[in-house]
Amino acid sequence: NSETISIEQKLAVQSIRRFLESKTSYDVLPVSYRLIVMDTSLLVKKSLNILLQNNIVSAPLWDSHTSRFAGLLTSSDFINVIQYYFSNPDKFELVDKLQLDGLKDIERAIGVRPLDQGSIHPFKPLYEACCKMIESRSRRIPLIDQDEETHREIVVSVLTQYRILKFVALNCRETRYLKRPIGELNIITQGNLLSCRMHTPVIDVIQLLTQGGVSSVPIIDEHGRLVNVYEAVDVLGLIKGGIYNDLSLSVGEALMRRSDDFEGVYTCTKNDKLVTIMDTIRKSRVHRFFVVDEEGLLIGVLTLSDILKYILFEE
């Protein structure tokens, strides 16, 4: 039986891969959708309001001086601002008046290598967009075309790993054959996982996000049981509340900024299968699964990148 399950899984993964090669990023786009873009001369704090008001965590930037797109605004930019402010508490005035086109200077000031976003044409195979995202270790990729008259760039949309996996979960019936336990697939990130305690100062957790190049840090109790998770997007709420100047806050206190419609942290165990993982992605806005054992002890994490990498390159 397990032999059959392994063969079915292998064939299903290959079939899903062919699906990704046969579709384009354009196919993932809804028939009608919204794209919010910000002029780089906006104040950073204004851009934060716009993201929160529109319930988004990232947006393409447009430089009206050069009439070109200037990359994506993401939670990493806000993390950089917090770190800059933490090392330069006297620069409150500068941070308050910082414009989006000043974010590059902040990156240089704190010595952070800018995230290479990459980009891809909307009509390239979806498989290629996925590979580019895995390569650039970013969780989103702008779809760029050219204005046929002026040859200027057009950002058609920004594709995320979540949207692609949801597209697969909605359109590939083969996901129902992915029945091998994820513990056998060697796709869980485990062992010396970055983590913190509820009383850890939030600034230390933010440092972990940057140093670890991760988008979330699990919070464990004295027994190693998973209690909560601090995510990169939580930084937006921290800045919104203006409490970033009180960075002595513990991460537990900072998490109280979370809005009440936060869906909660998803957990699974090594016995879970990708068939139910993909079904959960189809139904809910989930960005990672923390793997725990029967006692709730933290074992590892399964990110959307891990799942995408498995579908793209394994079997």
Partner: protein, 167 residues
């Protein structure tokens, strides 16, 4: 096919209400002061163009002044249609590009009356021209399928700001 033995779950202690209760129970001092982010996802209220209750000719005057201040040019309006302005706007990018790309953006600005003393100024993108004369390939409507709206949107923001500041 439901997979009965799925152990996927949502961590109860991560739900905001439960987390808050746990923090307060732990006696955290700051916890009482920190409230959850309640960004009212205020539905942006959209308008077509911009509204005005001023006298129609005053509105047109304001628009011409704003266009002039912004360095745009316009075709002389015909007697029978005083309420439409055909605008051309040099859109120089500052960086010299050897390739000849159209640099004159065309826009049509039109005043509509909605009801008694309630007017609407509508802005429409009207393609590109080249300031060095050669007629740009005026691909017709349904071929024109990849054009960037951002230069048009940018110029309308400048015009709206000019009108807002002047008024």
């Amino acid at each position: 096919q439901k997979d009965e033995d799925s152990t996927i779950a949502i961590l109860p202690s991560s739900l905001p209400q439960i987390h808050r209760a746990n923090m307060l129970a732990a006696g955290s001092a700051a916890a009482t002061k920190i409230s959850p982010l309640s960004i009212k996802k205020s539905k942006t209220k959209w308008h077509f163009g911009i509204r005005s209750r001023s006298y129609p000719l005053d509105v047109m005057g304001e628009i011409y002044i704003a266009l002039k201040n912004l360095g745009a040019e316009w075709a002389k309006p015909s007697e029978e249609d005083l309420w439409t302005i055909k605008v051309r706007w040099k859109y120089d990018m500052g960086q010299p590009t050897n390739e000849k790309i159209p640099d004159l953006m065309k826009m049509v600005i039109q005043l509509f009356q909605i009801e008694a003393n309630n007017y609407l100024v509508d802005f429409k993108f009207d393609g590109w021209e080249s300031s060095y004369g050669d007629a740009s390939p005026s691909s017709n409507e349904d071929e024109m399928s990849t054009f960037s709206a951002y230069p048009f949107l940018h110029l309308t923001t400048k015009l709206i700001m000019e009108l807002a500041v002047n008024s």
